[in-house]
């Protein structure tokens, strides 16, 4: 049973606040991804959990033990480092066995567990090699094998795939996911690659400037971003933003983008009503808009700037007012630069964002309940 709880953790480097009052609870055997751009504090947070750097204040619990000031070896954790940190002077076997040897596990037990870990990662034939005789992908496997061989309750991974080339990363991603499901350790995985995060994590904690902005399942993070940063950070292409003005018209609320009126879903009406007359940001993903080559009712006429055929879809860049947005269409959809097309915005796919705070607006549940 190893739940990880970070309570009010703060870590500063000089004037830079790397981790800013972070609270995070990772359930037992859960796979949580810390996602964010470089310098957001995700690695610092991971290292604090590992015990490689102490927090300035706050508390870190693993299971029901307070480990805030314990050295790493007393935390019952394991880790895969970004550069793998596979010892170059030890054979693969000794690398994988390292943690076990330090824990004074009996010799035959070590042998058994190294073998098992190596087999899980398909490197059982390389045990006598030195790391210099292996490829980057194989070294990565050694690093993972070393981490899982110690059977720690908590497995920490610091951008483990970032040093692999694209193809290998894709392959390793799936394999890691399968493996981690199998070993049932509580896992925290740091990455800056949102696709990795979306595809692997049970939950994703999106970080920026030392704070966790959103901590949700991948679908929630993707579909219902908590704020403009998360919306813009996740997804390829990122979510589009359009500025519009809220106008009340005899009990109804519309958001006007130029002359074009967007009609929000009923659950949002109450919330939006408070923004009457103000500017607001509408966020919508490229694949959620409908592109038409003919005029249609409730479709907005726009001009295409760029067409990018991507095989599985065509990505159009279009201008609406002062905003540039991307629209994904079916690959058969015909469009050419400077040609007009028509776009339809499904109301349930629009996320409304406060222009000043950047926070996503939520349906006014209080109102609905009462």
């Amino acid at each position: 049973m190893a739940e990880i709880r970070v309570e009010n953790a703060v870590k500063t480097f000089g004037k830079v606040v790397a981790v800013d009052h972070v609270n995070l609870t990772v359930h037992d055997q859960e796979f949580v991804v810390l996602l964010g751009p470089s310098g957001c504090g995700k690695t610092t947070l991971l290292r604090a959990i590992a015990g490689l750097g102490l927090v300035d204040s706050g508390r870190i619990m693993i299971g029901d033990r307070d480990v805030t000031y314990l050295p790493p070896k007393d935390r019952n954790i394991s880790m895969v480092f970004q550069s793998y940190a596979i010892f170059p002077h030890m054979r693969v076997f000794d690398n994988i066995a390292f943690g076990l040897k330090m824990r004074r596990v009996p010799k035959d037990e070590i042998k058994r567990r190294v073998q098992a870990a190596a087999e899980l990662l398909h490197i059982e034939n390389f045990l006598d090699r030195y790391p210099s005789q292996m490829s980057g992908g194989q070294r990565q496997r050694v690093a993972v094998a070393r981490a899982i061989a110690v059977h720690a309750e908590v497995l920490l991974m610091d951008e483990p795939l970032s040093n692999l080339d694209a193809l290998l990363r894709l392959e390793m991603r799936a394999e890691l996911k399968r493996l981690l499901a199998e070993i049932k350790a509580t896992t925290i995985y740091v990455t800056h690659d949102q696709i990795e995060a979306l595809s692997m994590g049970d939950r994703i904690a999106v970080m920026r400037d030392g704070k966790i902005l959103q901590f949700d399942s991948p679908t929630k993070v993707y579909d219902m971003p908590a704020d403009r940063f998360v919306a813009g950070f996740i997804g390829t292409p990122p979510m589009n933003f359009l500025e519009g003005q809220v106008r009340r018209q005899n009990g109804d609320v519309h958001v006007y983008i130029g002359d074009y009126a967007l009609k929000p879903i009923p659950e949002m009406v109450e919330t939006l009503r408070r923004y009457d007359g103000q500017l607001i940001v509408a966020g919508i993903r490229a694949e959620n808009m409908e592109a038409l080559s003919e005029p249609a009712e409730d479709a907005l006429k726009v001009t295409v700037l760029v067409v990018e055929p991507l095989g599985s879809q065509n990505l159009l860049t279009i201008r609406i007012g002062s905003d540039i947005i991307k629209v994904a269409t079916h690959p058969d959809f015909r469009a050419a630069p400077d040609q007009p097309i028509w776009i339809r915005f499904p109301a349930d796919k629009i996320r409304w964002i406060d222009r000043d705070s950047g926070k996503a607006l939520v349906p006014d549940l209080d109102r609905l309940v009462s």
């Binding site: 300035d56 508390r59 307070d66 000031y69 007393d74």
Partner: protein
């Protein structure tokens, strides 16, 4: 730090951390004392009165402070001219060594040519070699050539002593300037010489200056070859060594301290580059 009750395990872990940190500081300070204390003691002697020098037990600070001993030393016959010789030799060595080594260092760092590795390795081998031992045959040769007992012949010897190190240091300094800088300069219209003068030189100058200072210190300190190559035009260490057996304690203490002072100053200026100088041996 938040004030909250820590359980005993936490408290012990925290205390262990603090203890280890304190221990490291203590160790660091102890080693620093091991190096500084002897310097302080000879400094104390160098600035004590002659009565204090022969006193027992010894005082551990120069009280009363007196320049009597230093003056006695500096007024000894030949000390001033030997100091002048030493500075002259060191400066000549510095200039010669830097002038000859810089092109070679540049070549090793920037060009791939047949024999590059051989040249670099032979420079490495020469550096590992006890060059001062060459003083004996050089002295004999210098006598034959009429160059014996001259300031410049000591400088020639010292240049041979410092040249390999300087070549290696300079090459590592050049290597630390990305080749792209030079290429960019050339793309934007410099020829090779201009690219070197305008882009590379300003960047390597501090490193080369450090290596020059180190050359100076090596020459200033060198005693074996200087003693063998000179009779009347002694350098400072050579003179002190020669007179050691017939000299007073005042002479020895003041002389020791006087020779030591430049290193205190120079090492301060080049401390950042020390690893450049020796770190690259294994690379």
């Amino acid at each position: 730090m938040t004030t909250r009750a820590l359980d005993p395990v936490q408290r012990r872990a925290l205390r262990q951390r603090q203890l280890r940190r304190a221990g490291t500081y203590a160790l660091a300070t102890l080693i620093a004392l091991w190096i500084l204390l002897p310097i302080w003691l000879i400094g104390t002697m160098a600035f004590s009165t002659s009565r204090d020098i022969y006193a027992f037990p010894k005082q551990i600070a120069p009280i009363p402070f007196s320049t009597e001993t230093m003056e006695f030393f500096l007024n000894q016959q030949g000390i001033m001219s030997a100091t002048r010789n030493s500075i002259l030799v060191a400066l000549l060595t510095l200039v010669l060594s830097t002038l000859i080594a810089t092109p070679a260092g540049y070549a090793i760092s920037r060009y791939f040519f047949i024999g590059r590795d051989a040249f670099r390795l032979s420079v490495l081998a020469v550096r590992a070699f006890p060059i001062v031992i060459l003083a004996v045959p050089l002295a004999v040769t210098f006598i034959e050539w009429g160059m014996y007992d001259r300031v410049y012949s000591v400088a020639l010897m010292h240049t041979a002593l410092t040249l390999p190190t300087t070549i290696l240091v300079v090459s590592s300094v050049f290597t630390s300037v990305p080749r792209e800088f030079e290429e960019a300069a050339k793309v934007f219209g410099c020829n090779a010489w201009q690219a070197f003068m305008r882009v590379v030189l300003p960047l390597v100058l501090p490193g080369i200056a450090a290596s020059a200072i180190f050359t100076f210190v090596m020459s200033w300190n060198e005693v074996f070859a200087a003693t063998l190559l000179t009779i009347r035009n002694r350098t400072l260490p050579a003179l002190i060594l020669y007179q050691l057996n017939k000299s007073s304690l005042q002479f020895q203490y003041a002389g020791g301290f006087f020779m030591l002072v430049p290193s205190l100053i120079f090492i301060f200026f080049i401390r950042r580059y020390l690893f450049n100088m020796w770190g690259q041996i294994t690379k």
